[in-house]
């Protein structure tokens, strides 16, 4: 099972599911990360954390830990 936290720079994938065991999952869905959406890893801060994703035409930064609840195909 691959998550958004493991994406490489510039890698485009589709979201499969959101893991509800992560306390931030609701906010992540509110930001538009829903199953079926295509996301791309666009930037990584120093130390590879946080990560920035493109989703629905916006850029959203989040910690690696949080990106871990976005399950991708």
């Amino acid at each position: 099972m691959k998550t958004a936290a493991e994406l490489k720079f510039g890698e485009k994938v589709k979201i499969n599911d959101i893991d509800t065991s992560n306390p931030s999952h609701q906010r992540i869905i509110e930001f538009g990360f829903t199953p079926g959406q295509e996301i791309e890893l666009v930037s990584k801060a120093a130390f590879d954390d946080p990560l920035a994703f493109s989703v629905r035409g916006s850029l959203i930064a989040m910690r690696k830990k949080e990106a871990g609840c976005i399950i991708v195909s």
């Binding site: 930037s43 801060a45 916006s58």
Partner: protein, 678 residues
């Protein structure tokens, strides 16, 4: 009284996700009686206004903080959501106008759907249509309107196109309200869980598929253009709809680069702080000269008596010591505003999240801490945007250690004392060192407090950092100036009265009871007589009596009661230190300005009955160290109490920072003396 706030005119509330052009719309609609209590980092607190007179519309308009959903996720968002339903002063809105970014339609429609579910009378304003048309797409406002069953209007924030249509829609909706009785919004209770939100998004996708369409070609035969369009048509429609701004991605490749990103970040922060000093310096000189001229002029007109003394030394010098660093505050707020409006602050927060999380803070602590360099009060308010309670309390805890602008006049004076007049660069170097030292100090203290957080902070919950990185934009000067103006005004009106009152109190304590001391006037010039009278009056004053009690604390750090009185008065507000020193040591003499005459009398000051100089390198450095640590600001304590909900944290801050200040000053002064620096 619940639900029945007296209201004579209709209330129209603006809501919208952050960066959806909400404040721009507010500026376009609002009239002359614009009021705001806002702070850097967001539009938290409220701006209210009437409609601009040209629209001939009698209604109150309220700009609320940006939210992405009606399910709050931070204290900041909870306030916004609660007061959207029922504002404590203004009641429930008659109409809600929701701004949404057309280029981020699918994300921003979530809030719109939630507002409709809550039965608000809604008008949707579509902004940033130009960004969408760059992607060769457009939204059909008519179709969207029929899907949502409310008015949808396109507005261009730069030109103001579409504003008349907004006014028409407001009038139309207000008339409808008059005919039907007002429906009260019901608190948002729809399923907030995963499936509920996903269902919302499924509905949104059906809507966006219908309302978004390609911009039709204009029929001209232009081969290059036609090819380009062909290419675009050949790319899948979904990909086009969901691609972020190209330029923003390119800029981010540099500004969020692992190496260059950090370098540019450090550079931007460096330029920010150095420009506060370089740009403000000439203006500050002007303000200082103006006030000292006014003080001398007063004495010249009224002669030497208690009234002229009260006006010149108590009132004018006190006022001058506040006004002199207004230029620096203006510049700091202006730069913060530019960084915010271009979209860079969010990137700064992302870059610094990892290091800050190591000491128990959050990337979102960045903006509050940065604002702390201007003033701790707006900084503590800005900390409301941090969703995690522990991180928010810890951020509030360390904010008083940020070198706020009230310390500047103190440092400026002390540094001027140490800087040889032929080597002015030493002053800049010393000031930079103080800033770096205070940053290191606050990081260290945050790390230590974080270690003891179970005992000190008493809050623990899930730490998170999710932040939208807005599209880069060129800031709008009008918004920038409005915000800078209101922040500066707030600052002056908060600090001003306190300083004035304390200047008068200190003046009273140093002037009475021995108003006309008996001295030997034989063979003395008039100036010398005034001088001697002053020092005699001071030594027999109430302040001196008070000072005897402080002397035992001041001797170990190489100072005397006169500095003690100034330090105690500085607990009201740090900048009072300078005006108090001015009153205690200075004579309004014929030299150029307040500072240089104060410096020369500081140079002459001796520790009583010892003949030793009072202000030496070691005591000056000791004083600087004291100001780096000490929490000397009543307003900060009050705001800390309000923002943390109890006296625990402000009391801890006061005790820890003040004893740390005394201890570090003791170590510094005696350490320097041990090393042979007097």
């Amino acid at each position: 009284m619940k639900g029945t706030v007296a209201k004579s005119i209709p209330l129209i509330t603006l809501v919208g996700p952050p960066n959806s052009g909400k404040t721009t719309l507010f500026n376009l609609l609002s009239g002359k009686n614009y009021r705001t209590v806002n702070y850097p980092g967001s539009t938290v607190e409220y701006s209210t206004s009437n409609f601009s007179a040209k629209y001939n519309l009698n209604a109150e308009i309220l700009d609320s903080p940006g939210i992405i959903s009606l399910i709050p996720n931070s204290p900041d968002e909870k306030v916004s959501v609660d007061s959207l339903f029922f504002h404590p002063r203004l009641g429930s809105p008659d109409i809600v106008i929701c701004t949404i970014d057309a280029s981020q339609l699918s994300r921003h429609l979530l809030l719109v759907l939630q507002l409709i579910e809550s039965h608000f009378k809604l008008i949707v304003v579509l902004t940033m249509n130009d960004i969408l048309s760059k992607k060769k797409l457009e939204v059909s406002a008519e179709k969207l309107s029929s899907y949502l069953d409310c008015d949808v209007i396109k507005v261009d924030g730069r030109s103001g196109n579409g504003i008349p249509n907004v006014i028409d829609a407001v009038n139309k909706n207000l008339n409808e309200l008059n005919e039907n009785s007002k429906v009260k919004p019901k608190p948002y209770t729809a399923e907030s869980g995963k499936q509920g939100l996903i269902d919302f998004y499924n509905r949104i996708e059906t809507i966006t598929d219908e309302v978004l369409s390609d911009v039709p070609g204009n029929g001209k035969i232009d081969l290059a253009k036609a090819n380009k369009q062909l290419k675009i048509i050949s790319t899948p429609y979904v990909g086009k709809k969901n691609s972020p701004d190209e330029l923003t991605l390119k800029i981010d490749r540099i500004l969020l680069h692992k190496f260059w990103g950090i370098l540019i970040f450090v550079l931007i922060m460096g330029i920010t702080f150095s420009s506060i000093f370089w740009l403000a310096d000439p203006v500050m000189g002007l303000v200082d000269s103006a006030f000292s001229y006014l003080a001398q002029f007063t004495i010249y007109i009224l002669g030497h008596n208690w009234l002229s003394n009260l006006l010149a030394d108590g009132l004018i010098s006190g006022l001058g010591s506040v006004m002199v660093f207004v230029p620096q505050i203006v510049i700091l707020f202006l730069i913060l505003g530019i960084l915010e409006d271009t979209g860079y602050l969010a990137r700064g927060a992302m870059l610094i999240d990892k290091p800050l999380s190591k000491i128990g803070l959050n990337g979102r602590s960045f903006v509050p801490m940065l604002s702390g360099f201007a003033c701790a009060i707006p900084a503590m308010l800005a900390a409301r945007t941090i969703p995690n309670r522990r991180e928010r309390l810890l951020t509030i805890f360390v904010i008083p250690l940020m070198s706020c602008s009230a310390r500047l006049p103190v440092y400026a004076l002390l540094i001027a004392y140490l800087t040889p007049s032929d080597k002015p660069w030493i002053g800049g170097f010393l000031l930079a060192s103080i800033y770096i030292f205070s940053i290191i100090t606050s990081v260290t203290v945050a790390a230590i407090i974080n270690k003891f957080r179970k005992k000190l902070i008493k809050a623990e919950d899930n730490s998170s950092f999710i932040l939208e990185l807005p599209t880069y934009k060129i800031p709008k000067p009008i918004t920038l100036f409005r915000n800078t103006y209101s922040s500066t005004k707030q600052y002056i009106f908060r600090a001003g009265p306190v300083i004035l009152v304390f200047s008068l109190v200190i003046w009273f304590l140093t002037f009475f009871p021995n108003v006309s001391p008996q001295i030997d006037t034989h063979n003395k010039t008039e100036d010398e007589i005034v001088q001697m009278e002053r020092s005699e009056r001071l030594e027999t004053s109430y302040a001196a009596d008070l000072g005897k009690g402080i002397q035992p604390f001041m001797t170990p750090i190489g100072m005397d009661w006169r500095i003690g009185v100034a330090l105690i008065s500085a607990f009201v507000a740090r900048e009072v230190f300078v005006s108090s020193l001015a009153l205690i040591f200075k004579v309004t003499d014929k030299s150029n300005d307040i500072q240089s005459s104060l410096l020369s009398s500081m140079n002459k000051a001796e520790i009583q009955n010892s003949g030793k100089k009072l202000f030496t390198t070691s005591t000056i450095v000791g004083l600087i160290v004291f100001f780096v640590f000490a929490l000397q600001c009543l307003s900060t304590v009050a705001v800390s109490r309000k923002e943390t909900g109890s006296w625990r944290i402000p009391a801890l801050q006061l005790v820890i920072f003040t004893s740390l200040a005394y201890l570090m000053t003791f170590i510094t002064v005696n350490g320097l003396r041990f090393l042979g620096v007097n």
